[in-house]
């Protein structure tokens, strides 16, 4: 099977600055990849381009060989950094919403996960804490059988026990055809789960490597390397 994502000389500019410069990136199937970089380095821009929410200025971005559009949205499951579901919806209604929208949505799985995290499906989103809302949104995203999952800061606002559960969900969800792209700051929590990392700095890809290569070549954890590379 072909690579799930291919970016060639991808550039995205906003009115007065360049968010991504000449990005060349290939993501293989069956890998869990960390997209790492400081705030403002272009991580969310890249993820939005993958999801067709932004259009490149130049270069190309192909998902499973296709341009972002209806066909790619069927196979990409996106967890944005900010919750976007309407506050008035009940958790059960968000499940129905996803079921309506996505043919690959697994309702049973969603309910199982909600129960495991003790989430009351009758509650309206506006009554939930920020962290709980994030859990709901993550469960919805992971209950789809997608080829590419784009998770933008999936464990940020969440307590350590729930973080473990979320990482375990990502691991258990793993299949050789699907790829998980995780954009995060919480590197030490997540690095045992990653196959590869991509370092993004001011819109440039400065490194793409497997995590074990970093550990055996540099003798340090990804977290330690990150702190060195991006020292303020």
């Amino acid at each position: 099977m072909s690579a799930i994502l291919e970016c060639k000389s991808l550039t995205k500019k906003f009115s007065n600055f360049t968010a991504l410069s000449n990005v060349n990136l290939t993501l293989e199937r069956g890998r869990i990849i960390g997209l790492l970089g400081p705030n403002g380095s272009g991580k969310t821009t890249l993820i939005k381009l993958i999801n067709g929410l932004l259009v490149p200025n130049s270069g190309s971005l192909l998902i499973n060989g296709k341009l972002p559009g209806t066909e790619t949205k069927k196979i990409v499951s996106y967890l944005p950094e900010k919750t976007y579901l309407p506050e008035w919806m009940r958790v059960s209604e968000t499940i129905e919403f996803f079921e309506d929208f996505y043919a690959d949505f697994d309702r049973k799985k969603a309910y199982e996960m909600m129960e495991r995290l003790h989430l009351d499906s009758k509650k309206r989103l506006k009554t939930l804490s920020k962290g709980t809302k994030e859990k709901v949104q993550l469960i919805l995203v992971m209950s789809r059988k997608a080829d590419l999952y784009c998770l933008d800061e999936p464990i940020g606002g969440v307590d350590p026990a729930a973080r473990d559960y979320i990482l375990n969900t990502i691991i258990s969800n793993y299949n050789e055809n699907a790829t998980v792209l995780i954009s995060t700051h919480l590197i030490s929590d997540i690095e045992k789960v990653l196959d590869d990392v991509v370092f993004l700095k001011e819109g440039f890809v400065t490194m793409q490597s497997s995590v074990d290569d970093i550990r055996s070549k540099d003798g340090k954890s990804v977290d330690t390397l990150f702190r060195e590379v991006f020292r303020c």
């Binding site: 869990i32 045992k192 789960v193 550990r215 330690t224």
Partner: protein, 122 residues
């Protein structure tokens, strides 16, 4: 199983070491069936590819055997396990001698001290 993994060394190597320890200590008995890669990976909270890499390496050394339909098993070769146990012990001892040396003890001194402590232990 209690996994202790740090992120400074390649994780797959640590997984190999810890599975070997489980086999040597008898927690995994010869002929035991291993859980699936996915279950082991979730238990250790590591990437399934990483766990797979460790298991494949253990298969290569013959410590694990694969039956295509029924999964992975610990070898029943007692001699192999014994040899591994002895090698692990040897490595531990060499490491200990080295550490004591860093503290300023020569191997002879270390031995004397060691025997004394073992005698007085119980």
């Amino acid at each position: 199983m209690k996994w202790e993994l740090n992120t400074e060394r390649p994780v797959y190597i640590q997984l190999i070491e810890q599975i070997q320890t489980e086999i040597i200590s008898g927690n995994y008995k010869p002929g035991d069936k291993l859980p699936s890669v996915r279950d082991l990976a979730a238990d250790a909270t590591v990437n399934p590819n990483t766990m797979q890499r460790a298991l494949v390496e253990l298969e290569r050394t013959g410590l694990l055997l694969t039956n295509r339909t029924s999964g992975r098993f610990i070898t029943s070769d007692d001699k192999m396990i014994k040899k591994l146990k002895e090698e692990s012990a040897k490595n531990q001892i060499l490491e200990f001698i080295d550490k004591m040396h860093q503290l300023g003890f020569e191997p002879e001194e270390t031995l004397t001290l060691f025997i004394e402590i073992v005698k007085n232990k119980d």
